[in-house]
Subunit: 337 residues, 2 copies
């Protein structure tokens, strides 16, 4: 039974979107609940989700373990797994790593474009790799079962994270730089190292990460996936759409600028195009995953591999990533060093 | 297999005390983790507990469900259940009820001596009962499985809580006023209503709650328990020692005065005796529960009833109290009204 799992979304959530998830047969989604929010502000976001879980119990519930994906499939619902795109939510307090995990956080980016207390973002001029606190926090994330996500980090920091983490890490939403040379996309060397370490790449449908942007064809996207499998292996890739459905442009400003600057940072956009980019014609919402699977089929990919890409690889990754390290029984080889 | 469960302690926790719990065969303890602390400060207390759980995994672990008491017994450890003696930790935000439950809170007092946002404490001149927010919060506590504890509340507020709560409430640490007329002890009418509603009383060994204070004999204490069973029934009583072992007097000042006054409130103490009172000779630490059981035996109480008092009643109460209301399958009769 193959699963449909999206490795990242940050929508303006509503009953409409939850119903589209069901219409699209989406079993699980890693949702961003926080960027630059403090711990207390992040808890307010969780409170908001708790209200949705209470309001729409027939559509969604909070996912905490891989088994919840199976439960979602069995009960016709979507399991929602929490993630943070920046470590602001743990402030300068390593004890908040376990607290956030208890509250259900399952992914945390060490950086969001900028230097953080933990590592360097992909927009900084210099990348110093993991900081002293960064190494401590990665070890703590490994211990409790909180996945290190390096989607918005610099290259050196990402190599450091792969090396330092005793459990596989993820790049939940990005594409190969060799396909589309955006600052957020990743080099072949890095992707190869990610795959060899047991980590996961989620392919992004966010136009700034796509060759030809909004005009990118589904076949170009699918061909890129097939080539990336040649590079990383068929077990280490999935989807991470970065779908930001129904968000007002004020949100992309918050994502990019938070409270760290008094002037606007356009991030991947520009002064001419400061808002959310228009999505490609073949992916607008959670009912459109079939177009990606169809595109993969056209590349000649077999059903078993397509199933891995569309969700089974994420499920396997969830199984080994979300529990406490000791209970998991096995660690990445590097943990023995 | 009868259990040994203490319905409330607030010690200056240490490896020594955790080892005494094991030496005393204590299967579970409801520990106070917070009084006047804000949400964030309460989270810091949980972080401190997480460190202890990590440091002493062979002695203690965090209890979340009644099954954890059985697990504790089976693995020779003590399950630690969190509680708050005041609702400061939820601030003015009902969403924090579920957040605190997710973090493991299983008991919360609606008041600590003073008027709170939710109800009236036992030291106020007037008792207005449950406030508007109090009624909402009790309903939310019922929903998620967070026990309403009225140990430090006024009489009218406590009657209101019994009436308004759709699940049985607890008075985790107090004694009958008819035995010792302290402001913190409870009237026979209230205790009868508590028992009839399926609630629990935990008998306190804190000297200010004892007839003759520190000089109280174990037989006087045991006789009082036997008489209270005549009043409430044998299924609704347990132990709630209120043991404050190894605490400096600065702590009792924090407990009593928090940040609500610039002058010292002596609470149950006095200017002459402002600190913690000396414990009775027969109960100093977690190895002394046998003296209580022995005292009960002398009253002529049978082993089965003694087992209920020493822990089995708390276990039954935990079983029906800590899960979400719907999953529990049955609610208190009044819920149907």
């Amino acid at each position: 039974m193959s699963m449909l799992i999206d490795g990242l979304q940050y929508a303006n959530w509503s009953e409409k979107i939850f119903r589209q998830m069901r219409a699209g047969g989406v079993d699980a989604v890693h949702v961003t609940i926080t960027y630059h929010e403090t711990f207390r502000e992040t808890v307010l976001q969780i409170e908001k989700w708790n209200r949705w879980f209470e309001q729409f119990p027939d559509l969604i519930f909070q996912g905490r373990t891989a088994a919840d994906v199976t439960l979602a499939r069995a009960t016709g619902r979507t399991a929602i797994f929490f993630g943070s795109q920046n470590p602001s939510c743990i402030e300068d307090d390593i004890g908040l790593v376990e607290i956030m995990h208890t509250l259900g956080l399952r992914f945390m980016q060490l950086t969001y474009n900028n230097q953080s207390l933990l590592a360097t973002g992909c927009y900084e001029a210099e990348d110093i790799g993991l900081t002293r606190m960064g190494k401590e926090v990665v070890r703590e994330m490994n211990r409790v079962g909180l996945v290190v996500d390096m989607s918005h980090s610099g290259s050196r920091s990402t190599f450091h994270a792969i090396e330092h983490s005793s459990r596989p890490i993820a790049i939940t939403h990005a594409n190969p730089h060799s396909w589309h040379p955006a600052l957020r996309n990743k080099s072949d060397d890095l992707l190869r190292a990610l795959g060899e370490s047991g980590g996961m790449l989620g392919f992004s449908v966010y136009p700034h990460h796509l060759k030809d942007g909004t005009a990118c064809t589904v076949q170009s996207f699918a061909d890129m996936i097939a080539r990336t499998i040649d590079l990383m292996g068929e077990d280490h890739v999935g989807i991470g759409t970065d779908l930001c459905q129904d968000q007002p442009d004020s949100i992309v400003e918050w994502m990019r600028t938070g409270r760290w600057s008094k002037t606007v940072d356009f991030g991947e956009g520009s002064a001419d195009a400061p808002g959310f980019p228009e999505m490609p014609s073949w992916f607008h919402d959670n009912r459109d995953f079939g177009s990606i699977a169809d595109g993969l089929r056209v590349t000649g990919m077999g059903d078993a591999v397509i199933a891995k890409v569309m969700g089974d690889n994420w499920l396997t990754f969830f199984e080994k990533s979300f529990g406490p390290q000791d209970a998991a029984g096995k660690r990445n080889d590097r943990a023995a060093e």
